[in-house]
Amino acid sequence: MRNVFAVAGKELRAYFHSPIAYLVMTVYAGLCGFFFYSFTATYVMQSFRMQAMGGMGAPPMSLNEYIIRPLLAGVLTVVLLLLVPLITMRLYAEEKRSGTIELLMTSPLTDLQIILGKFLGALALYAVLIAVTFFYIGILFVYGNPNAKPLLAQILGLLVYGAALLALGMWFSTLTKNQIVAGVIAFAVFLLLFVLDWVTAYSTGTAGRVISYMSLTTHFDNFAKGVIDLSDVVFYFSVTFMGIFLTARSVEALKGRA
């Protein structure tokens, strides 16, 4: 475990020693802030309109339903989909290019320790992004009183969703020496897995349901509502394990070639 943390710490430090962490955080905070603002503005306009139409007796519009849920499920999952490749692309590609992979692989570490260390390091940076999201959502608590309970499911959802993306992205990073290539592959695959849901929007057959099941973002819907469905957790965990397993296979293959 000490070895895993040593590698994880090194990865996290590398993010903050290079522009990557700051770039990703800035882009994310900017987009997150923009969408948060636009959802809040819409919410304010609509609730004014409701009041003007004389709906005085009706319950106030839910902040959870009109701001937090669309913000997370509709927008941030897609933003993260695009930012995760920036986090994962360097994990192995950079070490392969600079030759530092030789240091790691000739040290008394198991492959799995290296992989988990890298994964945890990337997950830590991702968690910082998630913290930014909840900083915005916290503002709602200052000026309104949204329901706090769904937040737990939403945080958990974003974390398992991110873990799945990060594990896959890490695998793509083992396939090449070129960070850009690793990033573009991850980006393309994530986008494809995201739009799978659109393709099958009007099909009701078994194939359609299977493809829809594979879409990365559909499994997030329940979390966004504040519901933790075990099948969604299992889905994201399976993808994470698959990513880690494929990374391990790919690292093993490095020893055979060069």
């Binding site: 590698v7 090194k10 020693h17 530092t100 030789e102 240091l103 008394p108 070639r257």
Partner: protein, 337 residues
């Protein structure tokens, strides 16, 4: 300390290392000598556990690198051809990270960093970012990294490549200083390096060991005669015949021929200087002596001889007669008559 038995490594269909076996004793400095692409780096990468061998067994400090990789790696320090440094870390941060992953105890880390920094003369740049250091410093940081866990075995892949002459001398001194406490295997394609730092040399070419021994042994084994090169303008066959008759000359071989100039390689008895005799023989016959020089067989020549053996034999057999023209062979019986 290191036992390599029947090591073979294939990359797909290409054979990088073929059935290499050798042993290195504790405290010995062994040099791998060979041209680029001979299989030195591959052999080292297999010993360090970076690559898996296709065939063969490798033991480091008694541990099989395939079956017990962690134990073997714990006892191995490795400096690859390009130092495996993270450019955005400072030297101290880097060494601390390496110490942690190499399993140095938490309390000893600080002490070890000080020790290796001093040994490798990087103490004055400890706080600087590695990416901003010169190549020489980076190499030394790489060496410090290899030493941080005080390994029994040190594998150094071209430790002096890319350094300036002063740094090269310093690095060699450092390596010599490591012998005894550590078992060192280093690779190089620079010859003087081997004779200056290694007690034993393995010459590797195209994945096979072609010679081994101390630098002196290798020199003696291959240098059984004195060599003189001379370039003369005149009829090749006659000149050859004349040179052949000079006392002390064993073999005369034509090397190059351009227009009417021919360069001969003359092998004479060991310890005999035949230059004056050769010059007289040429001048007496009214040929033009253009160049005359001794060519002692240096380690360089031995190296070339060993690593291009097939080539030179073939060229001696085929290329030269055709280059000189078959007239040489036709004329030589005539000159005898």
């Amino acid at each position: 300390m290191i036992e390599v038995a029947g090591l073979t490594k294939r990359y797909g269909p290409t054979l990088a290392v073929s059935d290499v076996s050798f042993e290195v004793q504790k405290g010995e400095v062994l040099g791998f000598l060979g041209p680029n692409g001979a299989g030195k780096t591959t052999t080292m990468r297999v010993i360090t556990g970076y690559l898996a061998p296709s065939e063969g067994r490798i033991r480091v400090a008694g541990y099989d690198v395939v079956d017990e990789p962690l134990e073997a790696k714990r006892r191995t320090g490795y400096l690859p051809e390009t130092p495996p440094v993270y450019p955005d870390m400072t030297v101290t941060e880097y060494l601390a990270f390496v110490a942690r992953i190499k399993g140095v105890g938490r309390r000893e880390i600080k002490k070890r960093i000080e020790e290796v920094s001093e040994k490798c003369a990087v103490t004055d740049v400890q706080r600087r970012q590695i990416g901003k250091l010169s190549k020489g410093y980076r190499q030394r940081v790489g060496l410090a990294q290899a030493l941080i866990h005080n390994p029994d075995v040190l594998i150094l892949d071209e430790p002096t490549a890319g350094l300036d002459p002063k740094q090269i001398i310093e690095t060699r001194e450092l390596i010599k200083g490591l012998a005894g406490q550590h078992t060192v295997v280093l690779s190089t394609h620079i010859l003087p390096e081997v004779s200056k730092t290694c007690q034993r040399v393995l010459v590797i070419n195209t994945g096979k060991i072609v010679a081994s021994g101390t630098p002196d042994e290798l020199t003696h084994r291959l240098q059984g005669y004195e060599t003189v090169l001379l370039t003369v303008e005149g009829p090749a066959a006659e000149i050859m015949d004349k040179l052949q008759r000079v006392i002390g000359v064993n073999v005369v071989e034509p090397r190059e021929a351009a227009d009417s100039r021919v360069t001969f390689e003359v092998h004479a008895e060991k310890g005999r200087d035949v230059r004056a005799e050769l010059a007289r023989a040429v001048v007496e016959s009214q040929w033009k002596l253009l160049e005359l020089k001794t060519s002692g067989l240096s380690l360089e020549d031995i190296f070339l001889k060993l690593t291009t053996k097939d080539l030179s034999e073939e060229s001696a057999a085929k290329d030269l007669p055709s280059a000189l023209g078959s007239d040489l062979e036709e004329k030589s019986p005539a000159s005898e008559n």
